[in-house]
Amino acid sequence: MMANEFLFETVNLSKHFGALAAVDDVNLQIRRNTLHAIIGPNGAGKTTLFNLLSGNLKPTSGKVFYNGNDITGQPIHRMIHIGIGRSFQITNVFPNLTVFENIRLASQAMEKGNFRFLTDASRLKKCEERAWAVAEKVGLKEKAFSPARMLPHGDQRKLELGMILAPDPSVLLLDEPTAGMAAEQVPELIKLIREVQADGNKTVVLVEHNMNVVMSISDTITVMNLGKKLAEGSPEQITSNKEVQTAYLGGLYEL
């Protein structure tokens, strides 16, 4: 039953940091091939939830199912190989390597031949081609040879996205991909995410603060507050939900 409809499913998932329940008994289902947004005020537990889904954190209790399989406690490096890709709210790249090398490494991980000592890495032709294609897609082809740390913030966000696109995962966990980006760059990036999701038959789980964006691109929205799921539904349902409006939307964000 789980295997068919939902790609991701969490069962009574909790994560405590000391006395704080950052994620508190969350049951979340993410439908295959949809764009599922998770919103909520800062500190609601969205990043922590992502860390539990992606294996970066072990839950205090509860389980995570992916494709019907229990993946709770799988090592982090297995995740991308079973199809789960994740990007970070705080840019998390290889600062002294070039943009190209960052993306190329992301695709190299999916190849056989990681244990080759003396042949040049550029001989992995498929990887090279993939990396160039992705660099172009995220609009970083011109800056391919500059070190990642030299990129302006907006480009670092694009690189972060490039590194999750390169291995071509079936689910993309995107933690505030537009965080700190200049407003005029946001639509372009969102369009790209939507494109990738639509024509690749992919599932996207997105944390995003820009309500216009969330309302326009999401299939489903989950609202979190204080580690708990506050509400869930289509953009229309969320907009009209009184509880959500008073508790969260009305106070913090303009609709």
Binding site: H77, M79, I90, N92, F94, L105, L118, A121
Partner: protein, 356 residues
């Protein structure tokens, strides 16, 4: 858009020039003291032989430092126990030659096995401890080794404080009879190791090692089982240090325990810092600077040189954190920027990875 592939000779031009220069140097020095190339070839010429001896020591140091750079500069692992890799191979060479009648190739095989075993021993703790803690654990392990080789109970085998002496060296590697041959062997091993190391860094595996240095958590997220890559780097490094240690044992008349202590690891680290962390060629240049300074100052100032040397190194590392080769590579930045960025780069090893 791909970078054009360059030919082998183009790519390794500098090291090949170095090789040629070092190849003819003994003969040129011979000419200055009035020995013909033929005499030098037949191991005559006092001054030429003296320089060959000094250079052999430099090559061995460079090999040791390069193996350290693979761990520290390329893979980002800070070890304070690296001297053990070198010293254990040196002691194993001496003891096997002295107390067994194994053919020399068997000795070499055993040393290889020993070096891999030590790398695996260090790797045992790798998944559990990181950064400075890893350094301290490796220091602990190496200290145990140092205590063992200096212990008086075992002095029959190790020579304890006096050192291990009187082991027979195979005629082919006998440096007192055939110094030029030994010189060429050491030079050849150094140059080949450098080329192999350089190609390793460019290989798929090497790229992952660099990624681990840059941001291990992210490398893991990308899907690399980083532990395997670190163990591999450890094995390659340990083996290279063992080769250096074996050469050391064959070249020196005695194996003294100071090659097993923290000081010798620091020597390796210092050479890498002087030459340039993560550059590999810096290990060679650093070894030259280190040895020549050490030798020169001891000659002119005597034993007080140590203090002076220490001061020189501190100032050097403080103000040229990228090292000689590294600074050359970032020369466009200007000194101020180079200093600042160089420090950030060095200090990264000590920091724990950022949490998201």
């Amino acid at each position: 858009m791909n970078k054009p592939r360059v030919s082998f000779f183009r790519e390794y031009r500098t090291i090949l020039i170095f090789f040629l220069v070092m190849l003819v140097l003994p003969f040129i020095i011979g000419l200055f003291e009035g020995s013909t190339p033929e005499l030098v070839w037949n191991n005559q010429g006092t001054y030429s032989k003296f320089i060959q001896g000094l250079l052999i020591e430099i090559f061995i140091l460079a090999l040791f430092a390069m193996s350290y750079d693979l761990l520290f500069g390329i893979t980002g692992l800070l070890s304070f126990g690296h001297a053990m890799f070198f010293a254990s191979a040196a002691y194993a060479t001496g003891m096997l030659l002295k107390f067994t009648s194994f053919p020399f190739w068997v000795v070499l095989v055993l040393i290889f096995v020993l070096s891999v075993a030590q790398a695996l021993l260090f790797s045992l703790v790798l998944p559990r401890v990181k950064g400075i803690t890893f350094a301290l654990v490796t220091l602990g392990m190496a200290s145990v080794f140092h205590i063992v080789v200096t212990s008086t109970d075992l002095s029959k085998y190790t020579g304890s404080d006096v050192g291990l002496q009187g082991y027979p060296v195979p005629a082919f590697f006998n440096a007192s009879a055939e110094k030029l041959r030994f010189y060429l062997i050491a030079l050849f091993i150094l140059v080949v190791t450098y080329i192999l190391y350089k190609s390793f860094v460019k290989s798929p595996t090497g790229r992952v090692c660099v990624a681990i240095r840059e941001n291990e958590g992210r490398a893991m997220m990308l899907g690399f089982n980083t532990a395997n890559f670190k163990i591999l780097a450890m094995i390659i490094s340990s083996f290279t240090a063992a080769v250096a240690g074996t050469l050391h044992a064959l070249y020196q008349p005695a194996i003294i325990p100071s090659i097993a202590d923290l000081g010798f690891t620091v020597t390796g680290l210092l050479i890498v810092l002087i030459g340039g962390v993560g550059t590999l060629s810096g290990a060679i240049i650093g070894a030259f600077v280190y040895k020549l300074l050490d030798f020169g100052l001891r000659r002119f100032i005597g034993e007080g040189a140590s203090f002076f040397l220490g001061a020189v190194y501190v100032v050097f590392v403080l103000f040229i954190p990228y090292g000689i080769v590294g600074t050359w590579m970032v020369r466009r930045l200007g000194w101020n920027q180079a200093c600042k960025q160089g420090w950030q780069r060095l200090l990264r090893v000590f920091k724990s990875p950022p949490k998201d």
